[in-house]
């Protein structure tokens, strides 16, 4: 079931929570809205569900404009952030609620509720009261309650935010499995970029009410289009500079007293101020030869090489993270830890380099 968002704007008093946002969600997709608190992702989700009415723009589900249609008549169902399970009903009555609202015969209700509880792996708990369940169990009931109605689109509003880490990771896998199995379109809101990258077919990054970038997780990671996206997704080294020259697939940028290059995106112009983005795991380090200079001694031909001093070092299991200082610039490098090899010392001089094709230019914002 396709969902199309066309130029949606929503204001709360003076605040513009969602500003002319447009995108398309393809049927059967696991689609995430990602961004920091207050970026408008939850508001956008609520507009899709019919809990808020947009001030401008429209929402189309399966090609039909929703207009002012209230939630109880849209073909969407929502898993709320605080779950909103009815405290005065048992698990069974909670899950059965939507079916009973449709006045289905009780045998059907029994069967479908049983199926739904099996689907979320909670068989046999139908008679329990909500207060008797653990956080993870309540999660599953909320899911079952929504899915039992066989919605075309399932909306999830940060459903895992109240769970502890281990449970959260477990539920992420569950959700992904469920989505694949059912083929339902999932629209998932989260502020956790790791979560979004792990589960989604495509991610939409939002900030301050604006949609910044939409794409598959890898594309967003490898080719962030703005500074914000680069920073928000994973770690990034951001080097500001001026475009010096454009040469085939590469762009030469002068930053401080150094020259670095990046993969050409196509919009760069000579003299333009840009930011080069290099992920820490792309930065290679070798010990510097004593004495000055430093070009060309590491990596492949055409690699940029900068002379740097190790400022800090942190060990985190399978990675060693170095903070390097290159007069005025700071660079982060993440090197896989191979046991037995020696680590660089703090204060040591090193040469940092990367393959220019692994760096991208991002818009300055």
């Amino acid at each position: 079931m396709d969902v199309e968002i066309r130029a949606i704007t929503k204001r709360f008093g003076q605040v513009v929570a969602v500003d002319t946002v447009s995108f398309v969600i393809r049927g059967g997709e696991f689609f995430s809205l990602l961004g920091p608190s207050g970026c408008g992702k939850t508001t956008t989700l609520r507009v899709i569900g019919g809990f808020e009415h947009a001030d401008a723009g429209e929402v189309l589900i399966a090609g039909r404009s929703m207009g002012q249609m209230p939630p109880n008549r849209r073909e969407t169902n929502m898993v709320f952030q605080r779950l909103a399970l009815f405290p005065h009903y048992t698990v069974f009555d909670n899950v059965a609620f939507g079916l009973r609202m449709k006045r289905l015969p009780e045998d059907d209700v029994q069967r479908r509720v049983g199926d739904a509880l099996d689907l979320v792996q909670m068989p046999g708990l139908a008679g329990r009261r909500i207060s008797e369940l653990s956080g993870g169990q309540q999660q599953r009931v909320a899911l079952a309650r929504a899915l039992v109605n066989r919605p075309r689109v399932l909306l999830l509003d940060e459903p895992l935010s109240s769970l502890d880490l281990k449970l959260r990771l477990q539920m992420q896998e569950e959700l992904k499995r469920l989505q694949r199995e059912l083929g339902t379109t999932f629209v998932y809101v989260t502020h956790d970029q790791g979560e979004a990258l792990a589960m989604s077919d495509r991610v939409a990054v939002m900030d301050g009410g604006h949609l910044l970038q939409v794409g598959p997780p890898m594309e967003i990671y490898e080719q962030p289009r703005t500074r914000f996206v680069a920073n928000f997704i994973g770690d990034a080294n951001l080097i500001d500079g001026i475009v010096e020259s454009i040469d085939g697939e590469a762009v030469m940028v002068r930053a401080g007293g150094h020259k670095v290059s990046a993969r050409r995106q196509g919009w760069e112009r000579s003299g333009q101020s840009v930011t080069v983005c290099v992920r820490p795991e792309r930065v290679r380090i070798v010990a510097a030869a004593p004495g000055g200079g430093g070009a060309g001694s590491s990596g492949g031909p055409g690699d940029d090489a900068l002379r740097a001093r190790v400022e800090d070092r942190a060990f985190s299991g399978y990675l060693v993270k170095y903070r390097l200082a290159i007069d005025g610039l700071r660079l982060h490098a993440a090197v896989p830890y191979v046991s037995g090899t020696s680590l660089y010392q703090i204060g040591e001089d090193v040469i940092a380099s990367w393959d220019p094709q692994q760096a991208v230019t991002v818009a300055n914002e």
């Binding site: 109880n72 609620f97 939507g98 609202m101």
Partner: protein, 282 residues
């Protein structure tokens, strides 16, 4: 900061002393009178259950109890039925906090003025030539003025008015604690406004209704001024009987009926409290 040992005693002593001397003892002295007899205009300080026997074998007793219970029940039901939509409207249809505060103040304001004043207002309103009758005759709904005063009708209307704020505030309090996403979830699952109300809002605000009913009922049981001033002698409720007995120096009978009134009050509190405890809390 925890308070321990001797400090606890020091803090509680003054209040406890006042309560024992000025509350327990007077009540004790009062109820001792129920075991005395009243004969020929004098109180006989003998110990007997005769007063109790006479009280419970007098059909008048049951008539009065019936009137008291009927009045209290009726007024409580009216206060809840009228008060619930008002509390609901205040909670869901008034947006700004300032407006909510102002309306709450207005709804609360009659309590600041003496019950005598409020009852007097109803005296004027319900009189044969008062506002209500004039209005109804002016609109052509009735020809003759309705007899709204000095009977049960007037007492019911006036007492409902007095108890309404006591019903509204507990119900409002529970409503305001209701999680909005529960209603949204019901909508999401296909419930229209009526289904949402009957399946979600009403069951979950029941504690407020019970709390409001508790306050209204116990206040109605012990109402004195309103039945006295607006009842015209026809509304014979237990507090009036206690008053009359006392004025006639028939303290023993007064004590017995006062005790029964107290027990009715306690029974109501106990019943409704246990009901309250068994309801799911929001």
């Amino acid at each position: 900061m925890r308070i321990r040992g001797a400090a606890v005693v020091i803090l509680l002593a003054p209040a406890m002393a006042a309560m024992v001397v000025l509350y327990v003892i007077p009540l004790g002295v009062y109820f001792i009178n129920s075991f005395h007899r009243f004969l020929d205009g004098r109180i006989l300080p003998v110990w007997t259950l005769q007063t109790y026997v006479e009280y419970f074998t007098d059909s008048f007793t049951y008539k009065v109890m019936g009137t008291t219970l009927r009045l209290s029940l009726l007024v409580t039901v009216l206060s809840i039925v009228i008060g619930y939509p008002l509390a609901y409207a205040l909670h869901t249809r008034v947006r700004s906090a300032a407006a909510k505060g102002l309306l709450a103040l207005l709804l609360f304001s009659p309590l600041l003025v003496s019950v005598v004043v409020r009852t007097y207002g109803w005296l004027i309103l319900l009189a044969g030539t008062g506002v209500v009758n004039t209005l109804l005759r002016g609109l052509g709904i009735i020809d003759q003025p309705l007899n709204l005063l000095f009977n049960m009708t007037g007492v019911v209307i006036s007492l409902t008015h007095i108890l309404l704020p006591f019903a509204i505030f507990p119900m409002y309090s529970v409503m305001s604690r209701l999680d909005l996403s529960l209603k949204e979830a019901a909508h999401d699952l296909g419930a229209g406004w009526w289904d949402t109300f009957t399946h979600v809002t009403l069951p979950l605000t029941m504690p407020g209704i019970v709390a409001g009913a508790l306050i209204c009922f116990t206040l109605a049981l012990s109402a004195f001024v309103t039945p006295r001033l607006l009842g015209g002698g026809r509304v014979q409720v237990m507090p009036l009987m206690v008053y009359n007995n006392t004025v006639d120096i028939n303290w023993p009978t007064g004590a017995v009926s006062g005790l029964v009134l107290l027990l009715m009050s306690i029974a109501a509190v106990w019943t409704l409290n246990s009901l309250l405890r068994r309801l799911p809390s929001v």
